[in-house]
């Protein structure tokens, strides 16, 4: 619930744990992650590769498959707890209330089916349309995501389309039934730089126009900052800092966030202006089986002290709003 408006959030995650079942017992991949997305708002989830962003997204879709599983925590989709939902109920939510775009447009579409059909399938599945109606509406959906000559394109197969075009088709599929939430997992990472901006802009405008909230997932803080109101930064399965996009960029408090900004040249130059010289973060995200104790970022952190090795930093309010999890933030 949003206390200000009394409106339920589109997505509300609390204390989400995701584990990987294994021979030697489960490995925890995502640890007590929580955030909520108000109606129609764009929310960013940022972190390097391997931080647990994609599996968090799959958990929201109810698409975690063994050996991955949601081991505890709540996911409320539009006020409904998906933990209690049966697979049949989940199917009705998927595509209709929440849908997803994936990183790889080249492989995300069925190679043997014309793209128009793959969009039309949504209307048949969720709105009981006949294939004839659905095919016609698919052409409109293509026009909506600004695919040129949609009547002709609808009959094309995925291999006949560029990466950018395929991602437009994925957007058309995802938004076909006007869902309340769009989960976009690195939607532009596999695309040419020139196409990236177009796709982000398209997603933002279409979602804004139909009131769809976005969970935008990326390793690129700059990109996320441009389109989202609020951002959560994730490291090694935990959220380490969260706040409004502007404030997080202007005054990052967690060393990891500061490092990420340092890794974004143009924005970094502005954000770090005169304050502190920020180098790119050394090293890589550890594997979940060997997450260090205390603050998981300590092996890579230049500010780490003894307490960082032993105590998990708890969330504390940031001066500019939001939270940060660091013993020596600032």
């Amino acid at each position: 619930m949003n206390p200000a408006t009394g409106d339920t959030a589109v997505l509300e995650i609390s204390e989400l744990d995701i584990a990987l079942a294994g021979d030697k017992g489960p490995t925890q991949l995502v640890d007590r992650v929580g955030f909520s997305i108000p109606r129609g708002q764009a929310f960013g989830l940022v972190g390097e590769s391997g931080c647990g962003k994609s599996i968090t997204a799959l958990a929201v879709m109810g698409l975690l498959r063994a050996p991955l599983m949601r081991s505890s925590g709540q996911i409320m989709l539009d006020g409904r707890n998906i933990a209690g939902a049966s697979e049949a109920e989940m199917r009705k939510l998927r595509g209709r209330h929440v849908s997803m775009i994936f990183q790889e447009p080249m492989t995300a579409l069925n190679p043997l089916q014309p793209i128009g059909r793959q969009i039309a399938e949504m209307f048949v599945l969720h709105e009981g349309a006949t294939w004839k109606e659905a095919d016609a509406r698919a052409i409109e959906a293509l026009r909506h995501v600004r695919v040129p000559a949609p009547e002709r394109r609808a009959r094309d197969y995925p291999h006949q389309l560029s990466g950018g075009m395929r991602q437009r088709v994925m957007i058309a599929i995802a938004l076909a039934c006007r869902p309340k939430l769009l989960v976009a997992d690195e939607p532009t990472t596999a695309l040419d730089v020139t196409v990236q901006a177009e796709i982000v802009e398209l997603m933002a405008t279409v979602c804004a126009a139909q009131g769809t909230a976005i969970l935008m997932i990326s390793h690129d803080l700059g990109l996320v900052a441009r389109m989202c109101t609020e951002i959560a930064v994730m490291y090694a399965g935990r959220i380490v800092e969260q706040g409004t996009a502007g404030d997080l960029l202007r005054a990052p408090r967690h060393p990891y966030t500061q490092g990420l900004i340092g890794a974004v040249p143009r924005l970094g130059a502005r954000a770090a202006g005169g304050r502190r010289k920020l180098a790119e973060i050394e090293g890589v995200v550890p594997a979940p089986a060997s997450f260090p104790g205390g603050c998981r970022f300590h092996p890579r952190c230049s500010r780490a002290t003894g307490v960082c090795h032993t105590d998990v930093p708890l969330a504390k309010p940031r001066p500019g709003g939001g939270v940060v999890c660091c013993h020596h933030d600032g």
Partner: protein, 309 residues
């Protein structure tokens, strides 16, 4: 499409000519001839003059090169020559037996596909389950059983012991079952394994995840999105197995006294009836080529990526 078919047919010509050539040369260099095989039959005391006349009549006196050219020339007009043994045109001999061979081959392949593909699917959808394990053990053992031995076992069990089916001969469907099983079990096993592997590969593909994220039932995901893509991968195996089956049928046909090309080939080889052997082998090769052409055409029809290229 028509151009593709035409191109494939034209491509077959050198293959067939090559096979004809190899078989011809082989039978010219291995010891023994039709006439010596007659003598082995106990007609050793043949008049040298008769032998001389037969050699001339059968054209065995001409140099190999001349005989090859003559044979290939006949082949062009669809003439497979005259059998040494029966003095009948080889085309007629083959014509009398091709029907039975096709019947057996299609029955065996039909069995292999109808059982193997669903079995592979079922196993893949429940990986690691008891049924998966059992099916795959059965499939592997089916793959390694020699056809001749399997045929004997089937014959013993269902004909001699249970008296459910006739042990040999040709006639109604009851005659077809045992030889078709003997021939079809190994391609069935291979198809089950290939299908299982293909389904497991496709079911983890990104587009299947997309299909799930669209909110469709798992049944629909499997039947609409997984099945077609997986079957595309199985098609190659179907073609290769099917194509080779008529050749493999020779042993089974002989065992079950099935009046197909198998019997003709075995008898003709023993007696060095070169035109008949040549003809039989060419038909088997042609069958292989035609089946594989049909598979290629099926690919073009099913897979838009090939259609365009």
């Amino acid at each position: 499409m028509l151009r593709l078919i035409l191109k494939r047919v034209v491509n077959m010509v050198p293959t067939i000519a090559g096979v004809a050539l190899v078989v011809f040369v082989l039978f010219s260099v291995i010891p023994g001839s039709f006439i010596s095989s007659l003598m082995d039959d106990g007609r050793g005391g043949m008049d040298p003059a008769v032998v001389e006349r037969m050699r001339r009549e059968l054209g065995l006196d001409d140099p190999v090169a001349v005989r090859i050219v003559r044979y290939l020339g006949q082949l062009v007009v669809g003439d497979l020559g005259t059998s040494f043994r029966t003095r009948e045109p080889v085309t007629r001999l083959i014509g009398q037996r091709l029907g039975a061979s096709l019947e057996l081959t299609f029955a065996a392949m039909g069995f292999a596909m109808l059982v193997g593909i669903p079995l592979g699917f079922y196993a893949a959808l429940r990986p690691g389950s008891l049924i998966d394990t059992a099916a795959m053990i059965a499939a592997v053992s089916g793959l390694s059983l020699p056809k001749f031995w399997l045929g004997l076992m089937l014959m013993y069990l269902f004909a001699e012991y249970l008296h459910w089916l006739p042990s040999f001969g040709y006639g109604g469907w009851e005659h077809l079952i045992l030889p078709a099983l003997a021939l079809g079990v190994s391609p069935m096993a291979l198809l089950a394994r290939t299908t299982r592997a293909s389904v497991l590969e496709v079911i983890n593909a990104d587009f299947v995840r997309t299909a799930r994220s669209k909110g469709m039932s798992e049944t629909r995901v499997v039947t609409w999105h997984v099945a077609r893509n997986a079957l595309l991968l199985v098609l190659t195996t179907v073609g290769l197995q099917f194509g080779a089956l008529m050749g493999q049928a020779v042993v089974v046909e002989k065992l079950f006294s099935w009046p197909g090309l198998g019997g003709l080939l075995v008898d003709s080889v023993v007696q060095r009836d070169i035109p008949a052997v040549q003809g039989g082998i060419l038909v088997i090769v042609l069958f292989f080529l035609v089946i594989n052409m049909l598979v290629d055409i099926a690919y073009v029809v099913i897979d838009p990526r090939i259609r365009a290229g």
